[in-house]
């Protein structure tokens, strides 16, 4: 296929923040995940754990706990506020002050009619869930000492509350505390320290399970208030508990990074009576605190200080090895944080709080494969642009000529004019923006930089015309489907004629930009698009879905292209389908119309549509084999998927106009090295 000059970039210091809380919605099979920076991510567990939505964080927001009520998502945090999220516009819908000081936890009853929060001031506050709002209902009996954790009995009549050195059981109708379960302190030096009950779980049979800062998982009888069993599982803290739906299993996350499973089983075989909670398995997929935990039907989902989300399938729930039975680690967001100005070799890195603009280095040298070329010019950070306000940046874009830069938060959009000549760079903020342009889920520029497109509410796209002096609202492109979901992908054709936008309903709308009209809706495929691109010469739309399917659609006819039809008929290679990270970027080789460049976290792939498709018996990763073959033997072993795994932990792979590749790596090791030392962080009240 040939040689490529590769710009191997490692200066994007992307640093994900720690996972603080998670809540799994068993009904919709969505996992909501809150990070320390106040951002919330929604993962679709029915669609290959695809990160469907991201609600950007905010400086003043802190989330301690998440809670689903039906399809509604609530959070509460140490800022003392309860917030409900607008999952269609990806922003908090409203937030209200609970007046109880910092809030440690939020839960709902099984009926979904009430919320309860645990406050620093020792109160458990109940809120009524209304159609569009929540309303404060009453306080339960105020206690001395903060309420750290809560668990509602499935019947709704009782609430267990984890506090300092004790657990209280409240009778909800009366609001009185009916039981006081005293939790022992740790041994030795830690005896003088209060024990924090980090997590409680209230089971149907009135068993209360608690996890505390003394490293114990304790089982209590909620009726009598007596301790049934103590499992000392760690020298450090037990931070999180999660109960399976059938209440046969409880998992506990510790500061050591382990997840320990307890199962309610009879101690001897073939004995139905006398079941007890027995410690069974230990999983270690984290290096740091496991702060958030969810035991779902077939897997244990965990996250914590070390920032990555782990889905650990419970193998006994699977009959055979399959895609779903593999361990999943999600390190990087499933969207682009890097924009690339292909014509001029500029890179824009998006951080929550700032943007960085870099110019790639240069080399005149030539080398043979495997060589590192001497650098003629070092890469250069041209610009550091800090956002204004408290809201974090949710999207950004750089025009392909490098002349325009834009970003958006939930509250504002900003557009900048960039001028770079030689070593000088000047940046001018475009001052007057159209009123309609107040926030965007996605931004992109047309390839000639004359227009900007902003994904707005209800899957609509604003078309903005850019000139040297001003920027003008042109039109709003609206989908016919009436979808209210946000657009998470947007791409334009090189000739400026087409715009494709994909939303979380898996719909892809193709708009004709000359007529400013909807051209077509691409037939909906069951899996969410994770990346797409429009071919520079044929204008065919290539879409890669979360389930790894690759479809190419002929733009004019919205039919599957022959190649794609063949691919569908034959099926993708199992090795391709078994990859566990989604493709996040599609780009094309302008010099060779047959070549499509894709990448996920662990590889990049050049698909050459002129070559035969690999069947299941073909060796899929065949680059090493091909390298060892002679020139004559090679052609018979070629297939369409050319995969390079030389570069790892990829955030972006793009093909510049000069045919050189840009590979942005963020080694996980570099992320790990920035984490605090493992084992227990000092935390309030410990």
């Amino acid at each position: 296929m040939g040689e490529f000059k590769v710009h191997r970039v490692r200066f994007f210091d992307y640093m994900p923040t720690a996972i603080r809380a998670m809540a799994f919605n068993a009904h919709t099979e969505r996992l909501a995940l809150a990070r320390m920076d106040g951002s919330v991510e929604i993962f679709n567990f029915t669609d290959h754990y695809f990160q469907e939505k991201v609600i950007p964080g905010k400086d003043s927001r802190s989330i301690e706990s998440l809670c689903w009520v039906g399809g509604r998502l609530f959070s509460a945090g140490l800022n003392g506020e309860i917030a409900e999220y607008d999952l269609e516009n990806l922003r908090p819908k409203y937030s209200l002050e609970a007046y109880g000081g910092p809030i440690w936890t939020i839960i709902s009853n099984t009926q979904g009619t009430q919320l309860a929060i645990g406050c620093e001031d020792g109160t458990v506050k109940l809120f009524e869930v209304l159609e569009e709002h929540i309303q404060f209902e009453r306080n339960l009996d105020r206690q001395k000492g903060r309420i750290i954790s809560l668990s509602w009995h499935p019947s709704g009549t009782h609430i267990a509350a984890g506090m300092m050195d004790m657990i209280r059981v409240f009778d909800v109708p009366t609001g009185h505390a009916v039981q006081r379960l005293l939790v022992d302190r740790g041994f030795g030096g830690s005896k003088s320290r209060e024990t924090v009950v980090w997590s409680v779980a209230f089971l149907s049979d009135h068993t209360v399970v608690s996890g505390d800062s003394a490293g114990k998982v304790q089982v209590w009888d909620g009726h009598t208030g007596t301790l049934v069993k103590t499992h000392l599982v760690t020298k450090w803290d037990v931070l999180a508990l999660s109960v399976s739906k059938d209440e046969s299993s409880v998992v506990a996350g510790t500061s050591e990074g382990t997840v320990i499973q307890f199962q309610f089983i009879a101690p001897t075989l073939h004995q139905q009576q006398g079941k007890e909670w027995v410690r069974t398995r230990t999983f270690k997929n984290h290096t740091h605190d496991v702060r958030a935990l969810a035991e779902i039907e077939t897997a244990i989902v965990s996250g914590g200080m070390d920032t990555h989300l782990v889905v650990r399938p419970l193998l006994e729930k699977f009959d055979e090895k399959s895609h779903a039975s593999g361990l999943r680690k999600i390190h990087f967001p499933h969207r682009n944080l890097v924009s690339c100005a292909k014509k001029v070799g500029l890179l824009l890195f998006q951080f929550p709080g700032q943007l960085e603009l870099w110019r790639l280095g240069d080399s005149d040298g030539h080398g043979k494969p495997g060589d590192r070329l001497p650098l003629e010019r070092m890469p250069e950070k041209l610009l550091l642009l800090k956002r204004k306000g408290e809201d974090h940046i949710c999207c950004s874009a750089l025009s392909s000529c490098g002349g325009w830069l834009a970003y958006s938060t939930v509250s504002c959009v900003r557009i900048y004019r960039l001028q770079t000549d030689n070593n000088n760079i000047s940046i001018t903020k475009v001052s007057k923006l159209p009123k309609a342009l107040h926030s965007a889920h996605q931004l992109c520029f047309s390839s000639d930089s004359s227009k900007m497109f902003a994904a707005s509410s209800q899957s609509s796209v604003l078309v903005i015309a850019l000139t040297q002096s001003e920027c003008k609202y042109v039109h709003t492109l609206k989908p016919k489907s009436g979808s209210r979901q946000p657009i998470h992908l947007m791409t334009t054709s090189v000739d400026g004629k087409w715009l494709a936008a994909a939303n979380s309903d898996c719909e892809i709308h193709v708009y004709n930009l000359q007529k400013l009209k909807l051209h077509c809706i691409v037939p909906v495929y069951g899996s969410c698009p994770s990346a797409m691109g429009i071919h520079p010469t044929t204008n065919n739309l290539t879409v890669v879905h979360a389930d790894q399917q690759v479809n190419t659609i002929i733009s004019q006819l919205y039919l599957l292209q022959d190649w794609s039809r063949k691919l569908q008929k034959q099926g993708l290679h199992n090795v391709w389908l078994d990859r566990d990270t989604p493709v996040t970027h599609v780009t094309f080789n302008s010099k060779n119309p047959n070549q499509v460049v894709l990448h996920d976290m662990h590889m990049f792939c050049i698909i050459d549509q002129s070559l035969p498709l690999p069947d299941q018996k073909t060796q899929f990763y065949n680059q090493m084999t091909l390298r060892s073959l002679s020139e004559q033997e090679r052609p018979s072993h070629l297939h369409a998927f050319k995969i390079c795994k030389t570069f790892q932990d990829l955030l972006c792979v793009s093909l510049l106009d000069d045919q050189s590749l840009v590979v942005v790596e963020r080694p996980l090791l570099a992320i790990t090295s920035q984490l605090p030392a493992p084992v227990r962080q000092k935390k309030f009240a410990t």
């Binding site: 490529f4 495997g370 070329l373």
Partner: protein, 594 residues
């Protein structure tokens, strides 16, 4: 001295209808001495790799055509040349598969032979005696060819000699019982004719062989009565002499033919000293046996079939073409007679050399001179045997005459490195007897095969670096070590301890050139000595200190090694670790996708 090596069969032969005809027309060498081009008597040419006894290629002319002269290899163009049906010259290369498609040219007269030799152009000899270079002939195949011979004169034998810019074609003719030798010099072309002396019986020679030696052409020829004559023609001179000259001859060898006459025989001069003769019947054996003899002063081979080629004799006999490699050495001393019956029992060979030498009787300095002369000759092949021979003689004489001992000569012989213990078993013991430690050391150093008993004998007399390094096998050494007495053992152990400590202290300061035993060798010897004498040493009061020293030494070593063992695995891990490339924040790399 000449030695024949074991024969091997190159290929089977198909008997022709006429048993007296050889099924082989000729054997010529290819580019190197390991390839032979064998032309059979009818239609095919086969190229063999001799050492592998394996055909590499074969070419055949069409049915109805006949090869009339052996194929030769043109060393200049790397082509093969053969003549079919007397007039058609065919030239082809290795890679040509079909002889019919190869180049061919038809000439105007019948060809007798094509001759080719390294360093010279191939020459075509016509049946009527004319000679042409192959090249010039092929450039104009239809050129007229003159008749040199008279009408009834026929060529019996021919050869081609190329040496030092001189090129000769020799051929003998026969006409009414009269034999003539023609010497055709090429460049410039001159032809000289000699008449061979008539043998009393009137018979014609059975075989000819010619060689160029000392600017003289030597012609060797064998008559059925067993006489081998040699005639010498100067390579230069006589130019311009017209007419037929008589060729003087001298008798080189008279084979004992007995009553009968040789049916078929061939004689070949191997060098000035040796003649190989092959013939039927064997002169001194029963009739019907063919034989191969190598005679000193001359060396000959048999009939149409013996071909001397590049230190290999090719002998077609019975149903096989055999190859017998030989070595021919100009060693004057041997009274060696090698006789061996080859596998089929029908080839015999003998080597006879007789000459008295000074080392058998002469004084020491004369012997010394002889040895020096021998050693300085420096032909490795040659020396191997003669050195062994000479050393044996010297040792035997020294053992016989107590006053006779030649340390310098013996040392010189040992230093040639052609000697080993088994060749001259008495040498090391002799040197020990004479307390000639220098020679002892030298032998220990250079002999690879000293028996354990001798090693121990050396140990009793002296201790050295050298003894420790002699190869040995535990099982054989142990019983001999037991012969040492306690004092010797203690001394030896002390010595070993000293050497070990010395080396372990200055492992890095050892002079590189110095031969020194390795640590393992020293430890092995200590172990062996202790094994052999442990009970005695435990009882001996003066060994006590030494033994406890050794014990504490072993203890510390064991500890050291266990510690080393502990870090070994970690070090191995380090070794296994891939050298991770230092990847900086930014680089431009070149990759290749296939």
């Amino acid at each position: 001295m000449a030695a024949l090596y074991e024969e091997f069969t190159l290929c089977g032969l198909v008997q022709t209808q006429n048993a007296s005809d050889s099924p082989i027309q000729g054997i010529e060498r290819d580019g190197d001495s390991d390839h032979a081009v064998v032309t059979d008597s009818t239609r095919s040419v086969t190229l063999y790799k001799v050492s592998d006894q394996k055909p590499l290629g074969s070419w055949t002319v069409k049915q109805g055509q006949l090869l009339t002269c052996p194929a030769v290899f043109n060393f200049q163009t790397k082509e093969y040349v053969v003549v079919s049906d007397n007039k058609v010259i065919r030239v082809w290369k290795d890679e040509d598969l079909n002889l019919d498609k190869a180049f061919k040219a038809t000439v105007t007269a019948d060809v007798w032979r094509v001759h080719s030799a390294p360093g010279g152009e191939p020459v075509v000899l016509f049946q009527r005696g004319a000679v042409r270079f192959l090249d010039s002939l092929l450039s104009a195949p239809q050129q007229p060819i003159e008749d040199v011979l008279s009408e009834e004169e026929v060529i019996r034998w021919s050869t081609n000699i190329v040496a030092e810019e001189q090129h000769f074609v020799l051929f003998t003719t026969e006409q009414k019982g009269e034999c003539c030798l023609y010497v055709q010099r090429l460049n410039p072309n001159t032809l000289q004719k000699y008449r061979l002396e008539r043998e009393d019986s009137g018979a014609s020679p059975l075989s000819f062989s010619a060689s160029l030696r000392d600017k003289h052409l030597n012609l060797l020829y064998l008559y059925p009565n067993g006489c081998v004559y040699q005639s010498v023609v100067a390579a230069r001179g006589y130019v311009g002499l017209e007419g037929v000259q008589a060729l003087p001859r001298s008798l080189r060898l008279r084979l004992a033919v007995g009553e009968g006459e040789l049916g078929a025989a061939s004689a070949v001069a191997l060098d000035e000293a040796h003649v190989a003769v092959v013939g039927v019947p064997h002169p001194s054996a029963r009739t019907g046996k063919d034989f191969l003899c190598i005679w000193n002063t001359n060396f000959q081979t048999l009939q149409a079939g013996i071909l001397r080629n590049w230190r290999k004799l090719f002998v077609p006999h019975g149903k096989a073409l055999s190859v017998i490699p030989y070595d021919c050495q100009n060693h004057p001393s041997g009274r060696i007679s090698i006789k061996c019956n080859c596998s089929q029992g029908n080839v015999k060979l003998g080597v006879n050399c007789v000459q008295p030498q000074p080392h058998q009787t002469g004084p020491v300095d004369e012997v010394q001179r002889e040895v020096e002369a021998l050693v300085s000759r420096g032909d490795a092949q040659d020396l191997q045997l003669s050195v062994g021979q000479l050393a044996c003689h010297l040792v035997a004489r020294s053992q016989a005459e107590t006053a006779f001992y030649t340390p310098v000569a013996l040392a010189q012989l040992v230093q040639t490195q052609f000697l080993c213990h088994s060749v001259c078993p008495g040498l090391l013991l002799l040197s020990l007897e004479h307390k000639d430690y220098f020679l002892c050391q030298l032998c220990l150093q250079l002999f690879p095969d000293i028996p354990e008993v001798v090693t121990c004998a050396c140990l009793k007399t002296f201790i050295s670096n050298e003894v420790l390094q002699t190869p040995y096998s535990d099982n054989f050494l142990l019983p001999h070590l037991k012969d040492l007495d306690t004092q010797q053992v203690i001394l030896f152990l002390q010595y070993l301890q000293f050497v070990y400590l010395k080396y372990s202290q200055d492992v890095y300061t050892q002079t590189p050139g110095l031969r020194s035993p390795t640590m393992t060798q020293i430890i092995d010897w200590v172990c062996l000595l202790l094994d052999a004498h442990f009970t005695v040493l435990v009882m001996a009061p003066d060994a006590k200190g030494l033994l406890s020293n050794l014990q504490s030494f072993v203890k510390s070593q064991v500890k050291l090694f266990s510690e080393l063992g502990k870090i070994e695995s970690s070090l191995q891990e380090l070794h296994k670790m891939k050298l991770s490339k230092d990847i900086s924040q930014y680089s431009i790399e070149v990759i290749e996708l296939f």
